[in-house]
Structure formats: C-alpha cells, structure tokens
Point group: D2
Chain length 327, copies 4
C-alpha cells in the first residue's frame, strides 16, 4: 500500500491515481469507480446506462449530464420524474438558487419558495412549467391521436418541443439517447397531466402506458453485447436497470453505485453489488464497485478523472444509433 | 427529563411511555411517532396513508399490514411494486426464508436463490408468480376490453382474483383500501406484462395508464377533511403521497417518517418534514416526526404501542367507504 | 420465516419473540442481541463488560445503568469521561432538560445553556460540579499522599464521596463494579483538575496514572473464564475492551454492539464483529451481533426483554466480588 | 446557482471552484471546507489544530499528515493512540497492505493478519513494535527518573528516539508540533506499557500523567489570538480540542469537521457545529462547515485544493515556535 502524496498542484486524475495506490476505504472504491467507468467507455461492445435519483440535477449535475449525452459518454438514462422536471424547469428559464438548510420553512412557504435541502426553487417556476407543459401535452396528444406512449417516447416528445439545446431533454432527443422515466406520474409531470386532462375530455388527453417501456429497455439489454450501469442514489432507477438485466437474461458487466444508503436495513438502494449477483442482475465476474458518498461530490470527480484519462482525441460512437429507434 | 426505568415486565406501550418521559434522541422521536399515529386514528376526520418502500414486506411486516387493513387502521396504501410482488408471492404459496447476509452469492446464483440482505427467495417462486399472474393479466384484459386501468384499479383486480385471504392484495380488495403503485412497471409486475404481451397481440394485452391514478389519489386528499401519512423508507411512495397533498392544496396534518436516510445528500427520502413545510406538502402546525431507524424494528413497536393504547373496544369506520369507489 | 404478528397487548419480550421468528434485518439482529445478553447472564463463568459512549447517560439511560449495577447484571463498566460527568452532575442535583434540536444556539449561548442534540444542560450545573469536585480532588489527593491512581480507582474514590445512592458512581462503588475511564482527561474531569491544581502546588495535586488501569482490566479478562461485551456506540470504550481481550489472550465469548456507524469508512466504531475476529479480539465461535440503531431506543428494549426472560427469581452473583479488589 | 462544468482536464482546485459555484449539498460543504482551511492558513494569528481519529493513517493519510507538519500547515495534532501506533509501525519498517473487506476472518486469524476493513497488518509488525517500544519506554523512564510525562511530552520522547524522518512522530518532534494523545492507554501503547512494566519493578517504570496535558493544550488556546480546528472523524480528539476551547474561554474561530456520523443519535462525533456554538466551543461567527463523507477521500481533496491555492511561494511561520516549548 502506498500512502497518498500531495506535493504540489494535482489534476483530478493525478489525485485519483494516488487514491488507487492507497486503495483503501472510500479512496480505493472511488479510484476503482473511475477505472470501471473508463473500461465501460473503452469497451466498444458496452452500452452505458446512467440511473439518476435524488436531487442532484437541480443541485449541480445538470450540465455534466448534458455533456455526457453530447459527448456520447452515456447511452441510456433511467431517471426519476423529478430529475427531469428540474431539467425542464431550467430549460424554460426557471432557476434553482443557492439557499440554506437552516431556513425558516414557514417563511419560505409564505413566500412560495420550495426548499430542497440548501437549494431554493420559486413556486412560479413550477407554475410556468405547468402551463407550458400542459399545452405541450395537448399538442402531443393531438399528434398521437389516442396512441399510448412509453415513458421514453414521452421524454423524446418533450425534447423535440423544447428549443433550449442546453437541456437534458433536448440533448437526449437530439443525440437519440433514450430517457426512461419508470415512475413518470410521481413528479410534476403527473400534476401537469391532471391540469391537461381537466381541460379536455379524457378521451382526447395524452396517454402514457405504464408498461410499454419494459420491452424497450429489455431489448436494449438484449441487443447490446455488454451492459454497464452507473447508479446515482438508488430507488426506482437502479431497480429498473437491474430488472431489465434479469428480464433479458443478461447480467450487468460493469457497475458503479454511488449512494449514502446502507445494506443492513434491507432496501434495494443500499444493497451491495454482491447481493445483486445472487439474482443474476450483475455478473459475478463484473467489474463493479459501490462508493459510499454524496453523489454531487463523487460523480463529478469520476467524470473529471475519466475525461482526463480519455484525452481530447477520444471519440465514442453513439452506441444505440440505428439500433435503438427500432427497439 | 425523566430517565427510563425498567423494573420488571413491561408492555410495549409501557416502555414507550418511559421513552416519552425521557423524550430525547431516537427514544423521544419514537414515542412521539406513537402519539401521532394514535391521534391520526382517533381523529374521525383523518384519512391514513401508509407509504411502503424497502423490503420490509418479505422481511416480516406482511402480517402487520394485513391486520392494519382488516382492522381499518390504514385507509390508503401507496407502495413500490416490489412490496406488492412479495405479498403476491406468498399469496400463491411462495415463501421467504431466513438466510444470512454473509452468503456466497455465486453459489446462491447457481442454486437459483435470490438474496435480499438476509432473506432468501427461491427463483421458482418468481417463476410460479410469472405464470399465474400472466394468466390473470389475460383474464383482466379480456374483461376490460381495451380499457386502461389505473395502478389502484389494477391492484384490486389482482386482489379480486386471489383466493388467499391472508394477503395484502386480497385484504385491500375486500376492505376497499386503495393500493396505489405509482412505479408499477418497476417490479416483477413489469416482467409479467412482458410475458403476457408476448403471448397475445399487443392490442389485446392488459393496459395500465401511467397517469390515471393521479386524480384518484388527489381526490381522496381533497375529500378528506384531514390527511395523515406514515412513511416506511421513502422513495416514490413518500413522494407520491406528498405530491398529492400539494396537488390537492391540502397540506398533510399528521406525518410519521421512518427512515435510515439523511438530509445532507439532498434526496427526498432523507429530507426533513420541516423541509416539506416549505412546499406546503406538510402543514407547519402538523403533528409530525421522523424516526431514524430500521423500519422492521420501529414500525412494529409503533403498531404494538398504539394497539395497546386503543384497547379492544376501539373501532374505526372504514374511512373511504362509499366515498372512495367514486373518486 | 414467520411474519411478525401483533394481535393485542404485547410485552416487550413477546414482541422480541416475534422479531426472532422473522429473523430479518434489524429485527433479527435485535432479537439475537437479546438472546446473547441473556446467555451472558445465565453463563455463570461470564464477566459482563458494558462499554458506554455517546450521550446516552444524560439522555435517559442513567437509571437503567444504575439498575444493572445494583442487580448485578453488569460486572465492569468502561466509559467515556463525559458519560460519568453527566452522572455526577445529576448526583449533585444538577439536571438535564428536554429541549429541542431546532434551537437558536446563539441564544442558548447567551443564556448559558448547553445543548446535546435535544437535551439541555445549564452551565451552572457544570460550575457546581467544578467546585464540588475540585474540593473532592483535594481530599482524595490528601488521602493518597502523592500516590497515582488508576482511572478505575479514581472512579471509586468519587463514588465513595458521593452521598446520592441513585448514581452510577455511587452504585458502582457500593457494588464493587469497576468503572474504567480510559480517556478520563477528555471531559469536565480534566477541567476540574485544572481548577484543582491551580489552587495548590502541583506536587500536592491529585495524580492519575495514564497506564495504571491497563493491567487491571487485563487481569479481569484473564481471571474470568468467559467474557462478554455490550457496546453502546463505539470509540475508546469499545476499543479498550477489545484491546484487553487481545492483551490477555482471551477472545471475547459474547458480543453485542449497538451503533449507527458503518464499516466502509474504516473506523473502529463501525467495524464489524467479524473483522474483530481477525485480531483475536472476538472469538470466531462467539455469540455476537451488531444492531444498527439509536442506542437510546435499542438498549432499553434489550434490557426489558432480558429482564422479562430472567423473571423475578433470577439472581446473579456479583461476578468479581473478592476477586476484583485484588486485581 | 451555477451548474458544475467539466470540459477537459481540471486541477483539483478547479473542480472545487466548480463545486463552489454550485454550492449545494456535499459539494457546497466541501468547497466551503477548502475556503475555511485556506483562511486558517492565511490568518497569521491562527493556530491550526488537526484532530485525528478513525483508521485514516494506516489507510493512506500518513504522508499527507507528515507533509502538513513539515510545511507548517498544521500546528498541533490531537490524535487517538491507534493513529500514532500505526505511524510508529511504519516508522520501524512495518507495513500496511491492500486487502479486502470480503475476507475470511477466521483464516486471517490463523495466519496472524489483522484486518482494518480492507487494510491488512501482520501481527509480527505489532510484535516488533512491542519489543522496540518497550525498550524505548525503559530508556525514557531512566532519563526521566520518576517524573511523570504528559501525553504530548511522551509523543516527543518517542519522536526523538525514532530515526525514520518519514514519520509523524519524528516530523512532529523535529518541527516542534505537539501531539496530544488524550486516550494514550487505549492503543498498543498501553499494551507496550504492560510489557515494559512487567520487566521492571513498577517504581522504575515509565510514568504518564493522565491530566498533565490539559493545561498545555489550554495554554496554546489562550496564547493564540485565533484557533482553527480540522476534525477527521470525531471521538476523543474532537472533544479534546473543543473542551480546550471552553476551558480557555476562547471559542474556535475556524472549524472543519469531516465525518460520516449523524447528529440524531446524540453523540459528539456527529453533533453539528451549530450545537457547539451553544457551549461556546465554537464561535457563532466562526467560519465553519461539516463535510459528510469518508475522510480518506475528502481530506486529500481539501489539502490538494488549498496547496494549489497557496502556490509555491507561500510560507507560514511555525506558529508555536518559541512559545510552545514553555507552555
């Protein structure tokens, strides 16, 4: 074991190399995560799934995710509804503000400011979203004429209609990166639907099918020779990716989980990747690691380290291009 | 502050009374949680929502939830798909077994045994579920003739077809307790649908609408003079209940959250109930508390303490009866 | 696996029996902890060490610990200085008050009220302690005439001089239960010594030897056929007990650890009992378990359950009587 | 709020600047910690205390701490015994090895290999320490002729006798950085004393006074116009620094705590810095932050960021030089 040495200015990856030399505790896990992500990207057969939960998008990861999509460093996104809602809020010029966790929540309530730990969002940004998006729902419904969408088709329909190219929804649409939102209704997108369907008779309202995206994500797994997973948080997005692995009889080949959750209480979010092996969700021989920490700190470090390793010349083909539209 | 005294045999509630006297740390929070649940139940205007996440159902809480439904001590359930899947597995004579968290997961994989921390489930129980339920899906689809169900209608359709009265699905159906499953596809129910729809042309397959349950849960909130929430874990079920509170402009009046998650990483599961006040999800003056602990320990203690307080004579009217079928 | 059933009033141990039937997650660990403590007490060859850290004494566990000493259900205490300081504060009529964790700490500072999460202690109680105890130090110093005490001798000297029989220090002195305080100076006892030694020339001031208690605790381990450990929290008290096990070449036979700490960050407090086996601190075949939870909730449950199991007739001989005075 | 941008190779501090722009969750706290440490170092009136607990020294932080001492970027160290023991083991050519947390601890026990999560230490390195250091104790005892040492004098006596300049003990001795070890006996240093005193009559054995370092650390606080604290972990080292602040009536001016502990269970290690304000341990207006994370990841990032900010030209005077020897 080599102790970490800091004797002057270090790039992020130089620090990670020091962590790898030590190889212990969280530093060892973090260094390993960088290696696993690098391997996923250099493996030409691997499709990279990014599972997003928690409130990291409004808190600072939005641009990183957009860049990963644009640079083709992720192939598929599986997300909570809320993460995409927060992207959408900024896409239509809403904002998230630096706040404080020691806040008078009664006062915030009176001033119509919503708190996400130390991030503030004005209610009016949600209201603008409601109106703009309920209109968008109408236009999609008209175009689809009663056809039910899957959650990923829904996401692209939104992306198609957003003009702001600096958004996850738009970038994913343009780069043909599927966004699965398995619990779509559990977010402002659900309330927008309520608003939308109150304005028209229910027959004409936008339809999203609860099950339709299952076969799509399973087909991606099946067609892809190898599959890699990066989980931020856990919850439904982690479970959806892992379940697609079983359902398509393809264990995951590379896996990174970044979480603060612990295994002892039994929930999936904190479950170890070793446990996932018993199910066949993750292969026994997979390159895998779990980093215990705040994803808003850990994930940018991994991305910065890997981008440094790949260098400017590196390019990666859009993995699902051609293939994916027909899945 | 009075120190906890244990001088002989204590009932669960007698111990909780000691915790209340001390009033500190987790003991204070747990004692308060018992009081909040008791108040919810004695308040004749209050509808009680139970939000279920994590793996507590296969690990031991299944009977407690069934009893709460049968005794009319919960009015609405909001659950992950997996929790209901585990109920269904036992309803058709599958089993969960005591295992160990120090297990050879490669070996478990070879023997087709799935591990949930220290609970084991044989794969064959899932396989039986797949076949029995895909058949059930067919029968529901035939009956519904193309109509799309909401997640709660879907849950009752399953309950109606299960014979085993000792199950959450059946009990909820019989007692007319709605079960919302906002991320329905993120569970074996999603895979079952894949199987089911592979057997018939997609036009005839069972349809569940992703948004249809939104108005139903919002209407329950609106019609109910007061609303109480008990959260086990967090995730989508907690968010769904809290979002319904906003969407119906009714802040929650009583709230208990049992979780191991922490607020600092920003995710909803660990967010404080004080933070929820800024959104209007929970009323500022609500009776509320968050218990940091393993729900498999904490929730049975709360239930035992409250049942002891209520006594044998206590009865509670099924809160949504008559009202709910039309929501 | 049997699901937990609650069908009426349950005693604490009846609930624990239900947890044992389920055997999963935290409920399984808690049930096991009760069994391990029961075994320790029924095993006539076992010396029971209680390691105390955190702020559980001021928060509500003080009476329980006093009762355990009086009932001879613990044989040795290893504690932080602070836990014993809080006992001493109450022994001279100071108080701890129910407070709130949402407090204005600037205001508390101005009003000379110290906050321990949601417990308040007035500064004046510390001041009274300072004066009373610095006097006591003088009297002990005079009696000892330059002899250096060990931390456990120091604790008994205090206990001898306290009149309040309702205190840990007094009870331990009367029942001849050694109290080891390995980091004695790291508490108000350190400041009291500063005050005391400022009043007299340093030659005459009370001397405590930093190492003198090492051989004493090791001798207890050596002489005792079997050794059991109950850890609340972790830190120095857990390490001291475990180190004594190695130093005396006697692995621990029964072990319970109650903590919120996790193993991944590498610290001893969160380290697993399995890890302790590699060192020889805990025997491989030891009856052992780690309960992840708030000790103010978990420990009283264990004590209540075990007292119920033992019944009224149970008596246990003071284990170290005769032996210990000469160690 | 500005989202984190990663568009190419970033130095560690460039990434931290991005975190500062976002300012949320752990990223905001980490960025703030870098600023607070930078301020401590640029403030010519500030004495910097580093409180060390957990197993970070054997796991990889040893060289960083040595460099901080050599570069005069810390002025005082307060440590657990174990951290210094691990430094000493390497100083006499012992080693820590990369291991695995999934290890067969029975086998490790048979092969005399001690496990610290995923770090392995051979027992023989401890045995060598025992013999070398018990000899050293003899020589110190002979030189001191019955005089009792304080823990910090003891640490320097060891440093004086170690030849390996690449060690914390030696560097601290040479740079006149005091090392306080408040729970000295709670480590292999305690067992070494047992060995040492078994070889000679107790009158001639090395004496360390349990209280003697209290006035020394308090005097440093008093003489220093300002005081800054960096805590790794918590436990006795954090408490010792904070208690010295009260005892010397000087609240801490700058504070960083890196921990995985949470406040809700009431222990000091997880207590907020806001709580510390109520005691007067930390000033209300202090620059302060708590970073929730694995110190082996977080602390090197802070150090790398601050070293980058300070630049090559930066020098800092040994703060306690002249002053400290007489304290």
């Amino acid at each position: 074991m080599k102790h970490i040495e800091i004797n002057g200015v270090l790039t992020v990856d130089q620090l990670i190399q020091q962590f790898q030399g030590a190889g212990s505790f969280g530093a060892g896990r973090l260094a390993r995560a960088c290696t696993v992500y690098e391997k996923m990207l250099r493996d030409k057969e691997c499709t990279v799934f990014l599972a997003l939960s928690g409130a990291v998008i409004p808190a600072g990861l939005r641009s990183i995710v957009i860049n990963l999509i644009r640079s083709k460093l992720v192939d598929v996104i599986v997300s909570t509804g809320a993460s995409i809602v927060h992207d959408a809020i900024e896409a239509i010029n809403g904002h998230h503000y630096k706040g404080s966790w020691i806040a008078d929540d009664d006062e915030l309530f009176r001033y119509h400011i919503f708190r996400i730990y130390d991030v503030f969002v004005p209610e009016e940004d949600y209201v603008r979203l409601d109106y703009k998006f309920s209109e968008m729902y109408c236009r999609i419904a008209e175009e689809k004429k009663g056809e039910s969408l899957s959650s990923n088709e829904f996401a692209w329909e939104l992306g198609k209609r957003l003009k702001n190219s600096n958004s996850i929804l738009r970038a994913a649409y343009e780069e043909e990166v599927p966004i699965f939102i398995p619990a779509l209704r559990d977010s402002e997108f659900g309330y927008v639907h309520l608003l939308h369907s109150s304005q028209r008779n229910s027959k004409d309202s936008l339809k999203v099918d609860a099950f339709k995206d299952v076969s799509t994500i399973c087909n991606i797994f099946k067609k892809s020779p190898k599959n890699g997973m990066i989980v931020i948080g856990g919850g439904v997005p982690r479970n959806t990716v892992q379940s697609a692995a079983i359902a398509s009889s393809k264990g995951i080949d590379y896996a990174i989980v970044i979480t603060m959750d612990r295994p002892e209480a039994g929930g999936l979010s904190g479950s170890t990747l070793k446990e996932s092996v018993s199910w066949g969700k993750v292969k026994s021989e997979a390159d895998k690691t779990m980093v215990i920490g705040d994803a808003l700190v850990i994930f940018p470090i991994i991305v910065a380290s890997v981008i440094e390793r790949l260098g400017k010349g590196f390019t990666r083909k859009a993995h699902l291009k051609n293939a994916k539209m027909k899945v």
